[in-house]
Symmetry: C2
Subunit: 358 residues, 2 copies
């Protein structure tokens, strides 16, 4: 990314399409997240989807946000209870639909939503359509880990509740491409999540996927490290963790819940006695440094991989910091043309072609 030149105008900014509704904290949190991002990054602008009057009232408070934001009226809201099939059939008036439409039309390069994951995935699939060679798209997240970059790519974490061996191979290819482009790893290590690292363990589709992923590694510029276990998601055995969306979803939520429990216990430990309260004052900077490193809000944002267009799913409970992190990720992916690279990678690797794509 280069610094903006004099010739660049507001139109040259990366336009991000944002679903203002459907998050647990409502549109105020989403607008606060946009504001945070706008102040941190001069190169982005927004098209915000939701009830016009409400959004105007929120955006107009901030002149620096207002001048970079277009509001698109959408009166319907997709709730967490709505069935994906319902939303696809009759959700045309919703802010989520409108946000995806802006990507479909080419107006924006990427959409961000913190609404109902199932509905967002279903809408994204129907409206943006799958890339050639992709049967099941996947949601990928960056999970804090002990490897050099500080993160592993993990997918699928909930686009679908199942995946067969072929899907798992495609997840490996898409995750590898994300790790190359997002984490700057030349030859990412790919691991397949299982209940043990021995080759004979696990479900039959995993054994089949093991062979497929192993056999593709020479063509596709990744190193297959074989089966990995839950503990390796935060470890340094692999850079890309491949699994089905049910297991992946449970795993990341378990990890987040455990991290949050430890944070709570840490605060309790430091409130225990006058001495521990004193020590917590002195330890404040260290603790803040730690919190910054493990705060799940800072890596908020799963990316839907395998579609004609980029969609970033933020946590339903994301606050301004979380939404701003999702916007940052969306802007990065949009700016580096990641989706085209991924499409080329999947297309090149699948039959037996040996075209090399970044």
């Amino acid at each position: 990314m280069t610094a903006p030149t004099d010739h660049q105008t507001a139109n040259a900014r990366t336009l991000i399409s944002i679903d203002a509704m459907g998050g647990d904290l409502g549109p105020a949190a989403v607008v606060a997240g946009c504001l945070k991002s706008a102040r941190a990054n001069p190169d982005i602008s927004f098209v915000l989807h939701g009830p016009e009057a409400e959004l105007h009232a929120l955006v107009n408070k901030h002149a620096d946000l207002k001048e970079r934001t277009t509001i698109r009226n959408a009166t319907g809201v997709v709730t967490m209870e709505d069935k994906p099939s319902q939303v696809v059939r009759s959700g045309k008036d919703t802010s989520m639909w409108s946000a995806i439409e802006a990507v479909r039309s080419g107006e924006a390069s990427v959409a961000v939503s913190c609404g109902n994951t199932g509905a967002l995935m279903a809408l994204s699939m129907i409206r943006l359509r799958k890339l050639p060679g992709v049967n099941r798209p996947a949601i990928a997240v960056l999970y804090p880990s002990s490897n050099a970059s500080g993160f592993n790519v993990m997918l699928d974490v909930g686009a679908d509740i199942r995946a067969d061996a072929d899907d798992l191979l495609r997840f490996a290819l898409m995750g590898m491409s994300y790790a190359r482009n997002g984490l700057d790893l030349k030859c990412p290590r790919v691991g397949l999540l299982n209940v043990g690292t021995e080759e004979h363990k696990g479900r039959s589709e995993l054994k089949e996927a093991y062979d497929l992923i192993r056999d593709h590694q020479s063509d596709a510029a990744y190193e297959f490290v074989g089966f990995v276990e839950g503990g390796d998601i935060s470890g340094n055995m692999a850079d890309v963790i491949v699994t089905d969306g049910f297991t992946g979803n449970v795993a990341i939520k378990t990890g987040e819940g455990t991290a949050s429990l430890i944070g709570q216990r840490l605060r309790e430990a430091f409130k225990y006695s006058p001495l521990s309260r004193l020590s917590s004052l002195l330890a404040y900077t260290s603790l803040m440094r730690l919190q910054k490193k493990i705060d799940p809000r800072r890596v908020n944002g799963g990316v839907f991989l395998g579609l004609n267009g980029t969609v970033v799913k933020s946590h339903g409970s994301a606050d301004a910091t979380g939404i701003s992190a999702a916007i940052k990720l969306a802007a990065q992916l949009s700016e580096n043309g990641f989706n085209d690279k991924l499409a080329a990678r999947v297309a090149a690797s699948l039959p037996t072609e040996e075209t090399t794509t970044e």
Copy 2:
């Protein structure tokens, strides 16, 4: 548990059968764990299975352990690579087989092993046999949580890689019984692990299990809280988390891995600067208090539920502290007659009988 009286002799101690082999750290760690437990609990004694000469050399160093330990020679070792079916067919000479045999014969009331989980489960099933009404036994663990007792019961965490709706109902009943007897909860809250809390979400066997567990709750003295998510494993939504062994295994290992990553980052944060090193000295007690609360070794030990006899599976990587925690759990379960209560509970709840059992 009452204090030992003058009439009690070494024979009145709770005898625990211990597989000394198959753990990552070898028999020295197992013997060190026994020593720790022996010193903490005067009411237990051991029968230790493995290569006689090696075990004698380790045990004889400690007079207080020696007088409470019988060594049973077994030359074979089940490795982590051995297939369960192999071990069942030709593992008669192994320390694992011998350890389970001591429970089967009634000599010991409970067995502890840190060896190959699949082999231990297969041997336990074949030699101890399943309880009436149980198709798939399960491994249950205590997972640190924010509820009153500080722990949730979670099962299955790896006895099998699949479970149908009927199995999940039995897991609910067995987990509930464990929570009543192990955590002293009169009416445990049972949750079914899924990727969302909405009723229509998830795999079909989960929807079926939802109905079964809900319909049994009035007879069986638990409260069904419905679907729970990964974050609830360490939360306060349920006391018992029911899932299949694949998902459960990945989830607990993810949680442990995440906790260990945070611990590592916490140490780094406190080494960052002279001030943070000073503050860590002052914070030492607080940090130790925290570590004690979240140390996975202190809740080490999964319990096999659904068999005619109790088997405690310790982590393969357990050290003396971990093994001692598993022995402590084994002794508690043995002393309170938990397995008979669980058997009665499953038998009573399954058809439509309404016998109430503790």
